[in-house]
């Protein structure tokens, strides 16, 4: 968003140039910008400067509306950003839950654990043992079970923890847009006839305790309120511009009429105007 405002400012020729309002002490009357933790004050200033440059305030009331529009627009952007972040988080959470059930826990991960457990001179056999265990050879499964039991765990626990870890890593890579992870996730989703949107909807509907749907609705309501207030301020600026336009037209007319002078009545009794 900040980048977008900067790009827009650059496009409008405002880059690096501070559009200072008519008088800074006037803006002080409206109080400091109401930013929350982590919000960029410079981006807010740029937004205010852009609106100010577009409206070109003529009096304090115009300035009141400009500050209003800027702060309400900032609020709209804040709520939109929040909704987007929440939905993205929920989508990734849904994907992670899906991957925990469908991602394969490979022999290589088991081999790494076995390498740590086995005595040093047998460490090389870890990979072979893991492979045999994954292809469900009874002797290997027994041996792995015993080895894991010695360190206070079992195969089920190792597989559960492993798939959880693997799903987390895969989701992180997917989020970063790594090609391999995206391909793997898409393949797993297609294999189960699922899509990310369906997973998200499932997450929203099933997690009633988390109030996710209520949160999204609340944010939508806040966005609508801020938008309607911003639009009301814009309408007021329009109305005042119309009044100002009419006043200016009248003034121009008066100035033009002032350029004419009345010439005394002629013999015919008619009054004539001349330049």
């Amino acid at each position: 968003m900040i980048e977008r405002i900067r790009r827009a400012s650059a496009k409008a020729g405002l880059n690096g140039q501070s559009i200072a309002p008519a008088s800074p002490e006037r803006w002080a009357l409206f109080g400091p910008p109401q930013l929350l933790e982590g919000e960029d004050a410079a981006a807010y200033d740029q937004l205010l400067a852009r609106i100010c440059a577009a409206v070109k305030p003529v009096d304090v009331i115009d300035e009141i509306f400009i500050v209003d529009v800027a702060s309400l627009e900032w609020e709209v952007l804040r709520w939109r950003r929040l909704k987007f972040s929440l939905l993205r988080g929920l989508r990734l959470q849904a994907l992670e839950n899906f991957l925990r059930e469908h991602v394969d826990y490979f022999a290589s991960e088991l081999a790494e654990i076995l390498r740590d457990i086995l005595p040093k001179h047998q460490a090389d056999a870890a990979e072979d043992l893991a492979n045999k265990c994954c292809s469900e050879e009874p002797k290997a499964v027994d041996r792995v079970g015993k080895l894991l039991g010695e360190v206070g765990t079992d195969l089920d626990q190792v597989v559960t923890d492993g798939t959880r870890r693997k799903a987390e890593i895969l989701v992180r890579k997917y989020e970063r847009g790594e090609a391999g992870a995206v391909k793997q996730v898409n393949k797993l989703l297609a294999g189960q006839g699922e899509s990310l949107d369906r997973l998200l909807v499932g997450n929203l509907v099933n997690d009633v305790d988390d109030n996710n749907l209520n949160d999204i609705e609340r944010i939508d309501r806040l966005t609508t309120i801020a938008e309607s207030r911003r639009n009301a301020s814009l309408r007021e600026i329009d109305r005042r511009r119309a009044v100002l336009g009419a006043a200016l037209r009248r003034n121009v007319q008066e100035i033009e009429e002032g350029e004419y002078k009345v010439i005394e009545a002629s013999a015919g009794g008619k009054t004539r105007f001349d330049e």
Binding site: R26, L29, F30, G31, Q34, L36, E37, D59, V60, I61, I64, S71, L82, S85, L86, G89, N211, N214, D215, R218, I219, L222, I225, R229, A232, E236, R240, V243, A247, R250, E254, E257, G258, V262
Partner: protein, 197 residues
């Protein structure tokens, strides 16, 4: 019928419990019913009144007549009132956002219950790491803001009502001010044209 002895005892007890005695105690309880002070008019605060006057003079301009000045004062009052409401809302959001222990009521209850369980003699076994994670985990980032919006909804709604009222007052005052200005401009222009003729 209440006995004389009981009445006397009640009176003596009542005299003994008349609230805090010290000056700081009295000051503190005097603010018990105070929440945000937004129901008080702006003019009841001398600092804000001064701000209203400054803003009103700036709105009306140097040669303002009495009617314009009255409307300008109304606009300034509504504007300062609006700023007061926005400040209160901002304070509420900022304070809760900066509270690192802020959590949902349900989670806080769960944590208290868990600690209560662990303090019992037959407490379940739990590693310090797991316990620390369970007790110190709080919503972060966007989830935290969503939690605040959900839990402070009642207060935010009350502030929103004040904001709506202030905006409505300001809008009517600005329209009144603009109408007065328009009228005075048309009077001025008719006087000018009369003088030219």
């Amino acid at each position: 019928m209440t006995s004389e002895r009981k009445i006397n005892a009640n009176r003596a007890n009542a005299r003994a419990s008349t609230g805090p005695k010290t000056a700081p105690g009295r000051t503190r309880v005097a603010r018990n019913a105070f929440r945000h002070g937004l129901s008080l008019p702006v003019c009841s605060d001398p600092v804000l009144s001064e701000e209203v006057e400054t803003l009103a003079r700036k709105i009306a301009g140097p040669d303002a007549d009495a009617i314009s000045m009255a409307f300008a004062r109304q606009i300034a009052e509504a504007q300062i009132d609006l700023r007061r409401v926005c400040d209160a809302r901002h304070r509420l959001l900022s304070n809760t956002m900066s509270n690192q222990y802020y959590d949902t009521h349900a989670n806080a209850r769960r944590k208290v219950k868990l600690i209560g369980l662990l303090l019992r003699p037959d407490a379940p076994e739990m590693s310090v790491e797991t316990l620390t994670k369970l007790v110190t985990s709080t919503p972060q980032g966007p989830r935290k803001l969503a939690t605040i919006l959900s839990q402070e909804a009642k207060q935010l709604l009350a502030l929103d009502r004040y904001e709506r009222r202030a905006r409505s007052k300001r809008k009517s005052a600005i329209r009144g001010f603009d109408a007065t200005q328009k009228q005075s401009r048309s009077v001025m222009s008719s006087v000018t044209s009369d003088m030219q003729l």
